[in-house]
């Protein structure tokens, strides 16, 4: 079973209509969700800090984001004199478009497991509840998150002023550092699922909580993914890119009006998408009990609840954790997360291989540990020898 059954027998007008509806629904959902996410974050942080938060526009201040959006539209759009005109305009769109595109591969519903393969029938056609299910699935997400760096980076550079430039240099270094850990945590899941397609990954987790990759991959990849994702999103405690106390506003200091709104939108959309991706990779996507009637309805509810839990976690991070120093950021990324997830990836792959070829477990793990010990010993010896040679050279000098 590969790809959406919608396209198996050619594409006609009904298929095209379904496709358009799916795109529209995903687009609207993401926009509305972003609006409420901003409200949710402000309200929640207010609660955690003993404040009231937005409470004027609409009931419980629900329409605050909407009011802010309208205000952004009517503000003057400024462009600094030193700015690079074309790239200054381009950057916000790169951020916003990549944020929209990554959501396309997330399955937001459909019942998996049992006899069901996660399809839903619309207008008499069977289809997946996701905008697209490309064979590279999860790689599209990684590609989009690596392209999203350009938005931040170019915005900072094109502004033609100091603080944004520092912000964007920080952004690029941070994104490259954490993308490796993020990618490898994803690879662990791909190894377990045996497929890159997001639909396939969800299908591989069907049949009870113990089948979720959170548990069968041993929690480590999830923790690494969560930390790396927070860093990729430039969310606190990894928000060095826009650290207000040091960089005014970071990469978007010089932006105003609708262009700033686009960055703002992209940032919150990315938070929602990342949460959705984590649910897809580690929490079985839309998996959950179907309580009564309407088989197609409950999976979407479970999916939304899980995503909401992650949104809460991200806000919680922001309210409680102090920002990392730059060297601490690099230390955590390169010296802790990457070696850890690399080791875990090797371990999981070995485990899967052993199971697949039915190797003797004593020989398999014995030789693995031996190889690890020899490798570590060689590395330590090389480090020590390097230090000694260096010291001798210094004494000679």
């Amino acid at each position: 079973m590969t790809g959406d059954p919608l396209y198996l027998d050619g594409v006609d007008l009904t298929d095209l209509g379904i496709m358009l509806i799916k795109v529209l629904v995903a687009f609207t959902f993401l926009l509305v969700a972003t609006m409420f996410m901003v409200w949710f974050e402000r309200k929640l942080i207010s609660d955690m800090q003993n404040r009231i938060g937005p409470n004027v526009a609409g009931p419980w201040g629900l329409l605050q984001t909407f009011a802010d959006g309208v205000k952004f539209f009517f503000k003057e759009d400024l462009r600094p004199e030193n700015a690079d005109p074309l790239i200054f305009r381009l950057a916000p769109y790169i951020s916003a478009v990549t944020a929209f595109l990554s959501f396309a591969v997330v399955p937001i519903g459909g019942s998996f497991g049992g006899g069901d393969s996660g399809t839903v029938t619309i207008f008499g056609r069977e289809t997946f509840l996701q905008v697209a299910d490309p064979p590279i699935g999860i790689l599209l997400l990684l590609a989009m998150s690596s392209i999203a760096v350009y938005g931040v980076m170019l915005a900072g550079w094109a502004s033609g002023s100091k603080y944004p430039l520092i912000g964007s240099v920080r952004a690029s270094a941070q994104a490259i550092s954490y993308e490796a850990a993020l990618g490898m945590a994803t690879v662990v899941v791909v190894v377990l699922a045996g497929t890159l397609s997001t639909h396939g990954i969800v299908a591989a987790q069907s049949g009870g909580i113990t089948r979720w990759f959170l548990i069968s991959s041993g929690i480590v990849p999830f923790v690494v993914f969560l930390i790396a994702a927070t860093a990729e999103l430039n969310r606190p405690p990894f928000d060095l890119v826009e650290a207000e106390q040091e960089l005014v506003g970071g990469f978007h200091t010089e932006y105003s009006s609708i262009r700033f709104a686009l960055f703002f939108l992209a940032e919150f959309m990315n938070v929602i998408t990342m949460s959705a991706i984590m649910v897809t990779l580690f929490f079985g996507g839309p998996a959950g009990p179907i309580l009564f009637g309407m088989t197609w309805f409950w999976p979407t509810v479970w999916f939304l609840l899980k995503v909401l839990a992650f949104l809460f976690v991200f806000v919680w991070f922001r309210a409680t954790l102090p920002r990392l120093r730059y060297d601490q950021l690099m230390h955590l990324g390169w010296k802790l997360l990457i070696p850890l997830i690399l080791f875990w990836l090797m371990f999981i792959s070995l485990k899967e291989l052993r199971a697949a070829y039915d190797w003797n477990w004593l020989v398999t793990y014995g030789s693995a540990i031996l190889a690890l010990a020899v490798g570590t010993a060689l590395l330590l010896a090389a480090l020590r020898a390097g230090d000694r040679v260096y010291r001798e050279e210094l004494e000679d000098a």
Partner: protein
């Protein structure tokens, strides 16, 4: 029909990007034009049903390598259009012209002499079903081309170690800097 259309549009994007890389005055613009070329090539890969290669193209080249280029350009602050006349080697332009025209002629002659398939290399697995992409690529890399693959990885490790050795500083801050000890 659609295939040809996709090919020509993607090819036009690639060539425009490639021209942009060498014609743009600003290094950052050049780097962005390079990204445009890479995207064009990714589209060509998708058109050949090599979805995995397309994704890797975007993730590795556009997402990591060009970002590093930009990082260095921004860090060194060479993003102003510099006076190219000052930093040129003697005779460099003529040499570039001669070698450029030479390689173009060799390439053209090859196409004319060899005829249709320029390299003659066959695709890894024929027209692969999309799901088999990764599997076929892995099998080819780790069986037929395993020596080339391992040698390349060795080369990269050597490059990394070389970079670390060159950039390494003494562990105590009071020790003299690298430049000073090179004098002896």
């Amino acid at each position: 029909m659609v295939d040809a259309l996709v090919f020509f549009i993607a090819a036009a994007v690639c060539l425009t990007g490639a021209l942009g890389v060498i014609l743009a005055r600003n290094p950052v613009h050049s780097a962005l034009m390079l990204v445009m070329t890479l995207f064009g090539i990714a589209v060509q890969f998708v058109a050949q049903e090599a979805h995995f290669l397309a994704a890797v193209q975007v993730i590795v080249y556009a997402g990591a390598i060009v970002v590093l280029f930009l990082f260095v350009i921004m860090l060194l602050g060479v993003d102003r259009a510099q006076d190219l006349e000052l930093s040129i080697l003697p005779g460099q332009r003529w040499a570039a012209l001669v070698f450029g025209a030479g390689s173009l002629m060799v390439l053209g002659a090859l196409i004319v002499v060899v005829g249709e398939p320029v390299t003659g290399a066959k695709s890894v697995g024929g027209s692969a079903s999309t799901a088999e992409n990764v599997r076929l690529l892995a099998r080819s890399l780790f069986s037929d081309h395993v020596y080339a693959f391992e040698l390349t990885s060795l080369l990269l490790v050597i490059a990394v170690i070389g970079a670390v050795v060159l950039a390494r500083k003494p562990s105590q801050s009071e020790l003299p800097l690298v430049e000073e000890r090179g004098e002896n």
